[in-house]
Symmetry: C2
C-alpha cells in the first residue's frame, strides 16, 4: 500500500459550492481510495452536508474559516484581504507540507495570484502558465498558456514547452510527447518574433524536447501534437473558441433530432452510440486547469463545474503528485539549461 495523497480543497469556490465540492471529493475518493482531504470552509454550511457522507468524513479533515474570496474580487484585493479565506488557507496547507496539492473552483485570478505568492514560482521558471487537457481526434493533448500571460517572449514559450512536455509525460503517461508551437502558418518566416525565436531554440540540436515545429489552429483538435504551446492570449482564444464551437454543434445536433418524428425515432435507435460520443467529448472530463511552473501543485476547476467535473480536477492533482510532476520538472529544467550552456550549433 502506497502513501496516502492529501489534497487541500477550497470548499467555498465555484457556483455550486460547497455541495458540489463534497460530492466531487466523494467521487474522487472512490477512484483514488488512498486519498485524504483537508477541506477549508465554513463549518456552518459544510458540516450538515458532511453528516450525510460518513464515508467521505472518514477521509477528510474540516478546517473552519468563514472568510471567502468572491468571484469579482480583484487578485490584488484577494491577496491583501483574503489571508484567512478558504482559498488561501488551502494553498497555505500545500506550502506548509500538510497537503500535496490544492484544488479550487473559485476566482481564477485570485487563485493564481495567491498560489504564486505562497508557493512561489519554481526555480528556473520566469512565469507560471495555465494548462489544460482537451480531446482530439487521436486522444487527448495538453495546451498552455491559457491566459496567465497575455504577452510572452520566446524564453517564456520555451519554458512552457518544457512544462507542457513534462505534464504530458506525467499525466498522460506518454513516453516522448511531441510539442508544437501555435502559429498562423507552418513556414519558418510566419508569425512574430516570440514564436520564431522559440522555434529556433526548440529546434536546437541539444534541445531535450521532441519539437514538431509550428502548428495552426486546426491542428489542435486534429491532435497533430501532444503539447500545444502558445501565449496566454491566443491560448485563451483557442480553448474558448473550441468550447463555443463544440456547444454550437451539440445544440444544433439536439435540434436536428427534435426536428421530425423520424428524426426522433432515429435518435432513439442511435442513442447508445451517440452517448459514447458525448462521453468522449464531454467537457467535464477535461475540467481542471493546472497551474504549471509553481513550487507546488495547484489545480483550478471550472467555476461552473459539477461534482463529476470537480472530481476530475482532483484526479489531475493526484496524478501530478503520484507521478512526481514537480521532481520531473526539476530534472528537465536542469537538462534544458545544461543543453543551453553547452556550445550549440546555430539553429537555422
Amino acid at each position: 500500500m502506497g502513501a496516502a495523497t492529501t489534497i487541500a480543497l477550497d470548499a467555498m469556490g465555484g457556483q455550486r459550492a460547497p455541495a458540489m465540492v463534497l460530492r466531487g471529493a466523494q467521487i474522487a475518493l472512490k477512484r483514488f481510495p488512498q486519498t485524504q482531504f483537508l477541506l477549508f470552509g465554513d463549518q456552518k454550511v459544510v458540516r450538515p452536508l458532511l453528516s450525510k457522507r460518513p464515508r467521505l468524513g472518514d477521509a477528510l479533515t474540516l478546517c473552519h474559516t468563514d472568510e471567502v474570496v468572491l468571484d469579482d474580487d480583484k487578485p490584488s484585493q484577494a491577496l491583501r484581504n483574503g489571508r484567512h479565506s478558504s482559498m488561501r488557507l488551502a494553498i497555505d496547507a500545500v506550502a506548509e507540507g500538510r497537503a500535496d496539492g490544492v484544488v479550487s473552483a473559485g476566482n481564477t485570478g485570485a487563485l493564481m495570484a495567491m498560489a504564486k505568492f505562497v508557493l512561489k514560482t519554481a526555480p528556473g521558471i520566469d512565469r507560471p502558465a495555465i494548462a489544460s487537457l482537451f480531446p482530439t481526434r487521436r486522444g487527448e493533448s495538453v495546451m498552455l498558456d491559457l491566459g496567465a500571460n497575455v504577452a510572452c517572449d520566446s524564453e517564456n514559450l520555451v519554458q512552457f514547452a518544457l512544462m507542457g512536455e513534462v505534464f504530458a509525460r506525467t499525466v498522460l503517461g506518454l513516453v516522448e510527447p511531441t510539442v508544437g508551437l501555435l502559429n498562423v502558418g507552418s513556414e519558418d518566416l510566419k508569425g512574430n518574433d516570440a514564436v520564431r525565436g522559440a522555434s529556433a531554440r526548440l529546434r536546437g540540436a541539444l534541445s531535450p524536447i521532441r519539437f514538431h515545429g509550428f502548428i495552426e489552429g486546426d491542428d489542435i483538435a486534429a491532435g497533430t501534437v501532444d503539447v500545444v504551446v502558445t501565449d496566454g492570449f491566443s491560448g485563451n482564444v483557442a480553448i474558448k473558441t473550441a468550447e463555443g464551437t463544440a456547444k454550437l454543434f451539440s445544440e444544433a445536433l439536439r435540434e436536428a433530432f427534435r426536428h421530425s418524428l423520424p428524426a426522433r425515432l432515429g435518435y432513439l435507435l442511435a442513442r447508445g452510440a451517440l452517448k459514447k460520443l458525448a462521453l468522449r467529448l464531454d467537457p467535464r472530463r477535461y475540467n481542471g486547469a493546472v497551474f504549471l511552473g509553481l513550487g507546488g501543485i495547484a489545480v483550478k476547476s471550472h467555476g461552473s463545474a459539477d461534482a463529476f467535473g470537480f472530481a476530475n480536477a482532483i484526479g489531475v492533482a493526484i496524478d501530478m503528485k503520484v507521478n512526481g510532476f514537480l521532481e520531473k520538472m526539476r530534472v528537465e529544467l536542469a537538462r534544458l539549461y545544461e543543453a543551453q550552456a553547452a556550445p550549440q550549433p546555430e539553429a537555422v
Copy 2:
C-alpha cells in the same frame, strides 16, 4: 434590368483549378444571371473545358496567359516575377475598371501583396485586413483580421471594426450590426494595450459604431456580436481552431452512426434532419475571405474549395459590388474621422 457586374477570375489558382473555377462560375451565373466574367488563364487547358459549357461561354471573356503564381511562391517573388500571371492580370482588370472585383483560389500571401500593390490601400485605412463570414447559433457573423496583420495597434483595430461593420451591413444586410473586440475576459482591465485602447475609442460617445465591448472565444460561435474584431494572429488561430473542432465533431458523429446496426438505422431515419444541419454548418457556404480596406474588391477562395465553395466566393464579391461596399466605406470613414476630430468626452 440593372447594370451587369463583371468579375475577374484567376482560372489557375486552387487545387482543383481550372475545372473547379469554371464550374464555380457556372453555378454563380445561375444565381446571378447578370454577371459577366473575365477569365485569366492558359487557353490550352481552359478552352477545352469551356467548350463543354456554352452557356457560361456567352457570359465570359477568356484572356490568355500561360504564367501562374505557384502556391509556394513568396509574396515578394510573386510581386516581382508574376506581372503576367493569371492572378496579377485579374487584379489589374479591377484596377483598370474593366472588372468590379477579383476572385482567386491561389496563394493567399501573393494575392494580398499584389492586390495591395495594384489596388492600393483605401484612403483612411492603414492596413487592409482579411475578413470572413462564419456560422453562429444566431445566424452568421463576420470576423477580421484573419491573418493579414500578425500584430495590430489600437488604431488598426478601430479601423477593422469600421470595415467589419460596413461589411456586415452590405453583405449580411444588417441595419445596425453589433461589434465586439476579442479578448481574454470581458472586464475593462483584461488584455493588452491594443484591445484596451481600441475599446476606449469605440466606446467614445461619438463613435458611429454599435460597440458591444469585449467578447471571449466562446462568444464567436454563440453569435454574441455580428462583427468580431481581433488581430491577425488571434483571428487566424480562432477561425482555424473552430474549423478543426467542427471537423473533429463531424468525424466523431459519422463514426458514431457506423458504430452498430441500430445506429445505422437511426441515421437513415434522422438523415433528413441531419442533412439540414450539415447544410447550415457547411464550411463551403462560408468560403471567401475578403480583403477589406483596399481600393477595390478582392476575394480569396479557399485553395481546396470545390465549385460550390468557389461560387460562394464569387457571390460575396458580387454582393459587395451590388450593395456598394466601397462607397459605404468611404462615407463611414469620413464619419469616423469627423467624430474623432470633434471634441469628445474622455472615454473611461
